[in-house]
């Protein structure tokens, strides 16, 4: 109840509103993904405190999930990677004159999924947090090894490229003075590198600047937006009936996919769409405007956002790029999420939960009447958007630490990121590697010291052993699956 009282303060309500609205606009517009926008929100967390900042950043994340569907349905262009699947049947519904109904059902479905996801988070996070209190360095290490294995396999098409990107991220995090023995590493004599490279300019460069360059280079084809009037928003009884169970299935599935490392929101939409198609009595309708193919993936990506909060809040381990930005935001206030968060800072957790309920309701109320406005925003041409977004990125990253060095890092990362995207190297594993690097190194060294140099003593730690066995089993499965004639295909676009 205290959470609701805290979140109903004017500042938090405004933060929630701004986050949700900005997120929706970001979801509609190409160029700035949720990760970059959330990074741009960090100066607000410095001014208004961690809870307000967290509320705003989460608002951006799930707002982007809402917004991404609007352009997918109206113009067949996903504003966000997690809305790629929605294009398939969403645009077909639009062509049949059912755009309004599709948007309304997506908004209602996303609201239900978001609410169920928050309930799941509220229920599971404290339970897992308590369980994680008994975790030692070996359990954390095993957990991170499993996360890296899954991350490299689920991000992008080439696991080897994912693994390489994680290794590069871990290397970047090792630059600077090592806090365990105060030893400077890979600083090449630069003072700026002594404190290490902050991950935010890198994230902004890889996700923001590289995307800006990509849009600038690509040929622009002006989309045609269909007008949606309020009276067209009412779905038919049949559409409503057909949407109920896909929304519920998408919500549950999305929540659990959200627990996986990698672009969980994107993966959840693909898995949810294929599940609906597989169990449908009319699979031939998929691709021709099946309402199930629109509502289920959209429900899944909203609830995946909530699922992705669990590893962050209970273990302090972000599995997705946007939650890595949240971790950075909390660390700016010396708050370390993890098992002790629920006992040391329960105010933050419960305010955050309450604000998400409110934000979700806000999005439902605002999105439907404003759908026409968001459709028009999608029409803004790159020559107008790109200069503004570029300047916002420059000032945004400068304002975090008032550092020109960070701006250089962002631009260099942007150029490298542009080429890596072209060569289909996944970006998220690199960013997560940077964030998890220090924890990984600490866990490695503490585990080795604890086991007196004998890594086989891990056999005596059942949780760590189970996690490691899972990681080994997954690698084995991936290596052997081509020989069985099966191939897992969980292709996901980069989440940004």
């Amino acid at each position: 109840m205290n959470g609701f009282i805290n979140s109903l303060t004017l500042v938090n309500l405004v933060a929630c509103f701004i986050g949700a609205m900005v997120g929706t606009v970001v979801g509609v517009l190409p160029g700035l993904g949720p990760t970059v926008t959330m990074a741009l929100m960090l100066p607000f967390t410095l001014k208004y405190g961690p809870a307000t900042g967290l509320i705003m950043m989460t608002g951006v994340w799930y707002g982007a999930m809402y917004g991404g569907s609007t352009t997918s349905i109206l113009v067949n262009i996903p504003g966000e990677a997690a809305s790629v699947v929605t294009c398939i049947d969403g645009y077909q519904m639009s062509k049949k004159g059912r755009a309004g109904a599709a948007l309304a059902l997506v908004a209602i479905g996303s609201f239900i999924a978001g609410t169920l996801g928050i309930m799941g988070l509220q229920f599971f996070a404290p339970l897992l947090g308590n369980a994680a209190l008994s975790f030692g360095p070996s359990e954390y290490l095993a957990f991170m090894i499993l996360a890296f294995v899954l991350l490299s396999n689920l991000s992008g098409e080439f696991p080897l490229k994912g693994a390489l990107m994680i290794s590069l991220g871990l290397f970047v995090s090792a630059i600077g003075i090592n806090p365990m023995d105060s030893y400077p590493r890979f600083t090449i004599g630069w003072d700026e590198l002594m404190m290490g490279i902050d991950f935010l300019p890198i994230a902004m460069g890889f996700f923001g600047v590289s995307e800006i360059m990509n849009i600038a280079v690509e040929k622009y084809v002006p989309p045609e937006v269909k007008k949606v009037h309020l009276r067209n928003l009412f779905p038919t009884r049949e559409e409503g009936r057909r949407s109920v169970f896909p929304i519920l299935r998408g919500s549950i599935l999305g929540f659990f996919v959200g627990l996986l490392p990698g672009p969980c929101t994107v993966i959840s939409t693909f898995v949810s769409y294929s599940l609906e198609k597989r169990i449908s009595k009319t699979p031939q309708e998929f691709g021709k405007g099946a309402v199930e193919g629109v509502v289920a993936p959209e429900a899944a990506n909203n609830s995946a956002v909530m699922g992705a909060m669990i590893p962050l809040l209970t273990l302090g381990i972000p599995f997705a790029a946007p939650s890595a930005v949240m971790l950075a935001g909390l660390r700016m206030h010396n708050i370390e999420p993890g098992p002790t968060l629920f006992s040391t800072r329960p105010d933050i957790f419960w305010t955050f939960i309450a604000a998400m309920y409110i934000g979700n309701l806000m999005l439902l109320i605002l999105n439907l009447p404003l759908v026409g406005l968001f459709g028009r925003i999608a029409l803004i041409r790159p020559p107008v958007i790109i200069p503004v977004i570029s300047l916002i990125c420059l000032f945004g990253i400068y304002s975090v630490r008032n550092s020109i060095f960070d701006v250089w890092v962002m631009i260099i990362s942007g150029v490298i990121g542009y080429f890596l995207r072209k060569w289909k190297f996944p970006i998220a594993p690199f960013i997560i590697g940077i964030v998890l690097g220090p924890t990984t190194e600490n866990s490695v060294r503490q585990t080795l010291m604890l086991f007196k140099g004998n890594p086989f003593l891990i056999v005596g730690r059942p949780v760590a052993m189970t996690l490691l066995a899972l990681a080994i089993a997954f690698i084995g499965y991936k290596l052997l699956s081509p020989f069985w004639g099966k191939k897992i295909s969980l292709k996901g676009e980069e989440q940004g």
Binding site: L164, F171, I411
Partner: protein, 152 residues
């Protein structure tokens, strides 16, 4: 040299990564690996360097297979990309001297022109709007200490 000419940019990148992995391994050795009981500062980066070198090498070898690759970009794309980088660098180099307001006006205008926004008034109004937005958001609202330059 003849073979090197056939390498794609991606192959060169994989080769550089393999080299980077080897450099990390060698540098880590100079930091001291320690023992498994008492790990030194070089142990952890040593294994990271090893994995970068191995993964980079495997990718490099797989990229050496002859196959048709679509061109990465055309001459026009390179020009746009280079101009964008120059505009970003201009912002960094000029902001301490000219201050954020003038630099925002100038660089936004340059970006508009790179993006082929025609006319004079549209780019000028976008530049002015962006400068106002930056002032209101970062300077007025968030109290960020932005470089004022000659206006300070």
């Amino acid at each position: 040299m003849g073979k090197l000419k056939k390498w794609s940019l991606e192959t060169v990148f994989d080769f550089i990564l393999t080299g980077l992995g080897i450099v990390i391994i060698i540098t880590s050795l100079t930091y001291g690996l320690g023992t498994l009981r008492r790990p030194g500062p070089g142990l952890y980066p040593f294994f990271i360097g090893l994995s970068i070198a191995i993964f980079g090498m495997v990718l490099f070898i797989s990229e050496l297979k002859p196959r048709t690759r679509p061109p990465l970009f055309n001459r026009g794309d390179i020009k746009t990309l280079l101009f964008m980088i120059v505009a970003f660098c201009l912002w960094i180099l000029m902001i301490p001297v000219l201050g954020y307001v003038i630099v925002t006006l100038l660089v936004t205008y340059v970006f508009c022109k790179i993006m082929m926004l025609e006319g004079l008034w549209k780019p000028i109004s976008i530049s002015a709007g962006t400068a106002l937005f930056i002032y209101l958001l970062f300077d007025y609202w968030l109290y960020i200490d932005l470089p004022k330059g000659i206006l300070g």
